[in-house]
Subunit: 435 residues, 2 copies
Amino acid sequence: MNPIKVGLLGVGVVGSGTFNVLKRNQEEIRGRAGRGIEIVMVAARDVARAKAIVGDDVDVVNDPLLVVNHPDIEIVVEVIGGCTVAKDLVLKAIANGKHVATANKALLAEHGGEIFAAARERSVAVAFEGAVAVSIPIIKALREGLSGNRIEWVAGIINGTTNFILSEMRDKGLAFDVVLKEAQRLGYAESDPTFDIEGIDAAHKATLLAAIAFGIPVQFDKAHVEGITRLDQADIANAERLGYRIKLLGIAKRTDAGIELRVHPALVPARRLIANVEGSMNAVMVKSDAAGVTMYYGAGAGSEQTASAVIADLIDITRLATAQHEHRVPYLAFQPHAMAQTPILPMAEIRTGYYLRIQVRDQPGVLADITRILAGHGISIDGMQQKAPAERERTEIIMLTHQTREKNILAAIADMEALSTVPAPVTMLRVEELA
Amino acid sequence: MNPIKVGLLGVGVVGSGTFNVLKRNQEEIRGRAGRGIEIVMVAARDVARAKAIVGDDVDVVNDPLLVVNHPDIEIVVEVIGGCTVAKDLVLKAIANGKHVATANKALLAEHGGEIFAAARERSVAVAFEGAVAVSIPIIKALREGLSGNRIEWVAGIINGTTNFILSEMRDKGLAFDVVLKEAQRLGYAESDPTFDIEGIDAAHKATLLAAIAFGIPVQFDKAHVEGITRLDQADIANAERLGYRIKLLGIAKRTDAGIELRVHPALVPARRLIANVEGSMNAVMVKSDAAGVTMYYGAGAGSEQTASAVIADLIDITRLATAQHEHRVPYLAFQPHAMAQTPILPMAEIRTGYYLRIQVRDQPGVLADITRILAGHGISIDGMQQKAPAERERTEIIMLTHQTREKNILAAIADMEALSTVPAPVTMLRVEELA
């Protein structure tokens, strides 16, 4: 089966990321989707710049209508942003019977009603995983993963810029204006940061989450929107002292009287996992009747992070657009012919760090023997503690090693246990940095 | 369209949870799936007990073959567990052309190759979201949400029993045997806890995660399986002192030489979010090339928590089994006719806790005035601090309130600001317990 043809509107940060990841992972993606996915035409304001990104195999045009009107293109990816040109193009693509994938939260939060109605009319998909907490498949979790639940509330850190600013204000005790300038310098905040710091971006996302959680229309105009610009450093410190952290939360909550839909800074107990989500990371908590509390964590912005979501949407559309059995989600994620025969390694061949607890007789030269053994097996030491002797003649050495192969550490342990100064088996545990 | 008919094998903890949640949320589920989902027959060893759970509208039979051979049943839910009877029934259901949803990790980790091949042959679904970290849609996140990524590693706390035991050992400094007994008393550990504490259950799950992350066959026999029974309390304390926590991790990692697939206790830096996942909760971290690190957190066991996953599978199958447009995933999660008109509340009507910072002149009676105002608006105080005066004649009162309506707190603030002893606007922030 020929690859499904995709047109790309916009080759900025997200567009170029989408192009690059789709190209880099094309074999794996074909193995998962059951069909290749190929960007055949891109529309860009700066054609020369776009050509430099996508190369010669792809048509680059200045007029986006050439993409949405292209007869062979089945899916249009809209990553222009904003609500003017993007809206017209999305509606035109839908009218032309094309599926749409978009990361444009503003467009969907403000005009979703009109767009989804048009898409329903033409029986096309409008996929928007990239519109909320990009790296985290939260739309899928809410819309499909928790579909058996009655959802009670959703509360999330869904704007990375403001979470970075709040983390820095707390961590370094700096004022809002100072941290904002730093965020702008580091690229975490736009030169005009209004959308982020006034809570508008988070409210767009909360509006979408509320709609899919509770089955209500998108109603951005009803959202309470409050940013972090009026937050006083004193209150951040007070919150800390009371056992709380201040986070900008997007909240959608079902009550007997109606839905609460609000974005504002809030004190969150410091012991909650979500209170410890720092820097530009995002996290969304969901409370539902059967699953209980679940939480989803990941980067909330970035070129390839957003591409991850856009491409997942492309794969979903590809699978559903051609609904024979082989285009369903494969049992083990990949089509049978695309399964790998990569071997599973024996434990001796794995690499990780190690923790060793070595009981030794308290004699001169013991530590020298042990470090010589480790060095002899090519193992370097990351840290060491010697414990006060529990018995008079014994002491314990506790050691962390840098990464090595398990066979090396096992050989070193065997050598240590052969020493007359090591009277008991060495305790070994693995260390996983998970960085 | 008539409801899709489901047969249930097993009415134990998971089976009864599935029945109850499906019944309780039937309206919402129909709104999401585009079609009702109805359990019409259940097979149980104890028919009388099963009848007491499912009532008179459902056929209860003793012979599970009556379910898998029933001509009208399109989906069979297998929640018997184990690899003997369950395997025969699943294969028979598949042979009869029925879709299967199962929460049976042992069955799929040990016989997945045979079962998926049979299902592929008959073009039926075998869905297993409930097999790993039940409340968390991690199968969906890996297989669909991150489908555009090349996955580098997956590392998870995927056994609640052992995480509960490790949390208690660390928190209370107790020995393994003592905590195991407590876990058994509380129902977190089985009377025969071998599968959990020896890491077998986690290895079943890690085997499934490895398969869908890397596109390799399920190969439980190649997994390294190590439990927590030989963990010494001393090492838990040492880890803590070094800035680590010991967690039982299931790890699947891609390396140039092959796949690492292993379950063992590991030291994890205490500053990682996953190191702070306590008690019987589960969490899975995924590192992939485009999305970066994402993490998924929730309950790893429980009747309704598992039901959440099983029903999500039923909804997926229902949507895909009949692949017309209206059975795709709806744009906003619910079918258009099932959208709710629940109002979004004005901010005055929301309920939450509040933090107040009140600057006051340091005069007798000020605090009495403020507490009187709060009481007058029906607001009770959760905590209070009075700060050392910043200026000579002023001091600051910091207050946390219990939940109240926003209009009450706004009225109270207005009254406070009218006091001659309150010279500046009161700072108000909302408190979200997210419990």
